[in-house]
Chain length 591, copies 2
Amino acid sequence: MQYQAPANDLRFLLFDVLGADRLHELEKYADATPDLISAVIDEAGKLAAEVIQPTNQVGDREGCTYDPETRSVKTPEGFKDAYKKFVEGGWTALDAPLEYGGQGLPHTLKFVVDEMVCSTNLSLGMYPGLTHGAISALHAHGSDELKNIYLEKLISGEWTGTMCLTEPQCGTDLGLIRTRANPNDDGSYAIEGTKIWITGGEHDLVDNIVHLVLAKLPGAPDTTKGISLFVVPKFLPESGERNPAFCGGLEHKMGIKGSATCVMNFEGAKGWLVGEPNDGMRAMFTMMNEARLMVGMQGLGLAEMAYQESLGFARERLQSRSLSGPKNPDGPADPIIVHPDVRRMLMRQKVLNEGMRALALFAGHQLDLSVAHPDETVRESADDLVQLLTPVVKSFLTDEGFNNANTGLQVLGGSGFTTDWPLEQLVRDGRIARIYEGTNGIQAMDLVGRKLSLKGGQLVRTLFGTLSGYLKDNPEAPHREELKNAMKALETATMWLASNAPKDPEQAGAAATPYLRLMALTVIGYLWSRMANVANEQLAAGEGNKPLLESKVVSARFYFERLLPEVDWLLGDIQSGKDSLMAFSDDHWAA
Amino acid sequence: MQYQAPANDLRFLLFDVLGADRLHELEKYADATPDLISAVIDEAGKLAAEVIQPTNQVGDREGCTYDPETRSVKTPEGFKDAYKKFVEGGWTALDAPLEYGGQGLPHTLKFVVDEMVCSTNLSLGMYPGLTHGAISALHAHGSDELKNIYLEKLISGEWTGTMCLTEPQCGTDLGLIRTRANPNDDGSYAIEGTKIWITGGEHDLVDNIVHLVLAKLPGAPDTTKGISLFVVPKFLPESGERNPAFCGGLEHKMGIKGSATCVMNFEGAKGWLVGEPNDGMRAMFTMMNEARLMVGMQGLGLAEMAYQESLGFARERLQSRSLSGPKNPDGPADPIIVHPDVRRMLMRQKVLNEGMRALALFAGHQLDLSVAHPDETVRESADDLVQLLTPVVKSFLTDEGFNNANTGLQVLGGSGFTTDWPLEQLVRDGRIARIYEGTNGIQAMDLVGRKLSLKGGQLVRTLFGTLSGYLKDNPEAPHREELKNAMKALETATMWLASNAPKDPEQAGAAATPYLRLMALTVIGYLWSRMANVANEQLAAGEGNKPLLESKVVSARFYFERLLPEVDWLLGDIQSGKDSLMAFSDDHWAA
């Protein structure tokens, strides 16, 4: 089945709900007119369906292969061509800075394209995805000299980038890294150490690969405060000399088999410091925060493809009769979409996917406002929301993206379990997104342990202000009472944390995961109310795409009736505190 | 990591909670003394760890291979040996009828062994698993002649059996089958047709394979009332002649790669009618109901292995410091089990696994009472519970078994996604269990559409009687109020169905999935209260395994605080009715 980009939903969401049709009024985004945004949606959808999707299954079957002789990695058949077309279309440059050859378009558009790429080949999308993070880190923290050497080629897609963080003994806890950077005489550093799980660490799509590597300077403290960031190219840009940063092998994985996940051995490779000594974590978070939002789009992208596949199947597969009488009387049975329990699965996918898309693009739009709005107070509150919602987008979209891909597989029954259909690959590929760029548990800790206390709690106050402002401005807001109940639950949980966590940080750890989920469901509730509100208005005015608007009204009802009420359960979980989690001592676990 | 059978938990559950220590008082199960049950637990655990587990990873890597020349199937390296040891140990005969060489032990013990086999190699377990179903169907419905020919060799494991139901155009809707049975002159039938997804349809573990095949007699009605069951051996037992029942190929699947999932072509193969003409569905359900309980054990078995692996990892992996101060001050970091969010994942696994085990063995014990108790009223109410809970065990244990395997994978982070660890295989293998033997949605429909209305609603009344009887007899039952709340929710939902479903069967379809889940959580709540009750008593008396008993008390608290409250959400979902599920017309789905 050919992928169909959710173009109508995107236009409704961006233009009619979020107000991204006015982005071009901001000086920085003057080019981003509705026509241009619309063209980007259509062109990216075409590229995804026609160029990227055909590489997805072969990428999974073939995987990447490693040649120990040359220490090189071959990507699957078709990846090189598809990547070339992606680069030629300018897609790597979409939101990159103009001064280095980028197009300088809004980040929101980047998210839109990310979703489509991930719907059609997550593995392939990883190569430019990681490059994007490297661009941002270099742009934000690198010297002009480094920027001049690297940015244009990374932005054009002629080179790709990596993030080299993890080592065998440390993933989450980067204070434990052992990779060392010893000063050379020429101002560069000799990087020694082994990094693992390096996406795109070695491959054959481009001529040069630019590694951004966390390492420790001599005498640096043995904590995250002693980490520095270095840029380490595969080939030295001036001389073309091979830098001893070699791939030592590939991981064998459950999914994303077309993405080269490398062991990287830095054998005295030349590197240059990015930013200040011992300040590498800050630069790392520039890459990481952006990567976290992108990983959220991965979860959504896979779930969208699973929805399309399962919807197609449910409309075609004839099995049993409708409980309210035959709907396909001339056929041997009715299509399974007539059955309420099949509809439950399809509706769950559709309503959550659209809600997750709204959440992610709401965050993306705020990101654009935070960098481009002329009013400082708007910029600040937009930045509050982006910071607060980044871990929420990453976790919720990958957890529920995975669940929805599984729901799609379930609609297909036994067929979904076979490799004749793409569902099982979507499930396998999506499993990693709940783990990398910080596990979803780490995201939840970032939210309750860090984001809630930033600026004395201002981030979450900005969120509450946004939601209550909406209710105040819209006395007829659809599902108002249910939304207020969810907001109340989130407020209560926030107060509970504020009074319990400072005395006992383990209370924050115990509450973290349900709290993140409570926030996600509440913000998506706010967005479903807004979507239904716009749909009601347009339907009353006789405007717009009627089936789409009607679907929004029904979908909002489904969300408020069947999904949002989880918030009460989550609040109870949070309020029950840490005791039943922490009571076990060593001898209880396997008694 | 070597599998460790949950022997202590099983003994606590069977002897101290469920009363299976008294099974030997029933004439039929006079041999099943606590000593014998305990020996079975230990021996099966040993077999699983030492013989079966070593075949699991190679089975996944190698898979089954099909040779189109000979139309034969080769199982992975080691399967033949392990199967031989399984047979030699008498495990295929455990609960099989004495008169055909079985050991006649209680079904509960079969479930115990099933869990262990599925923890260590689900694919291998499928071969004897399907055989067991064939034995039951032949024993219940076959003529003495057929029984004499087939039962001994199936029970001894010298031959294996299959269930041939599905065809390309029909899975759930068996009324659509096209396989035909035309009478031969000698009283046999010529079977013509193609069956798909036939587990163990062809393999090299044994000399003969006995297919139980659903087919239609000439002139039979085109519904499920026109289906008959036939026994179709690969080799004719008398002559040794090859019967034209050939494997046409293997499915390629997400998991259970060591299980041969065959396309079977019956090319005029000789078959013999089992039971009455057109009564095949009844015999099929004899196999199916048993298979459904076994599939539940599959979900649990995989989840148990995932728990053990993730617990081991969480105790070893050093990463970050405890929020309440270093717990491993001499090491570079603390083991991740100190972190509340990691404990949340481990506790969820442990508490749900033990709750699911309690539910399954409660049902298994009732099955034994239903066939062996001298008092007819006891037999009848036990049978009520088995019938009611069969779809609940199948669905809930496979849904939550899959979720728990995923939770185990999450504890490992990136390692869990690599094939260096067994977690990703456990997840892939377990995905099918939510689908086969009737998808979990079909189980829910069986529960609300059939089981609730059997005998005028007596089955669910028996359940309520059991639960309220417990509360009446145990005024100090732990977590009494929370359990009562869940029972109230289940009663309310049952009443809602009773008043809405008769007028509109789509209301039953809309409520089915959350209703099944509500029942599962409530019955597991009842069992957690019982387990905690026994634990409290034994702790007060200074008896028993103290760490195990303490773990039960904490686990029950975790269950009642964090898991059971989902029931209120489920009740609301049910009561919101079918409208938001059924409102979409064709043009809304992809507007």
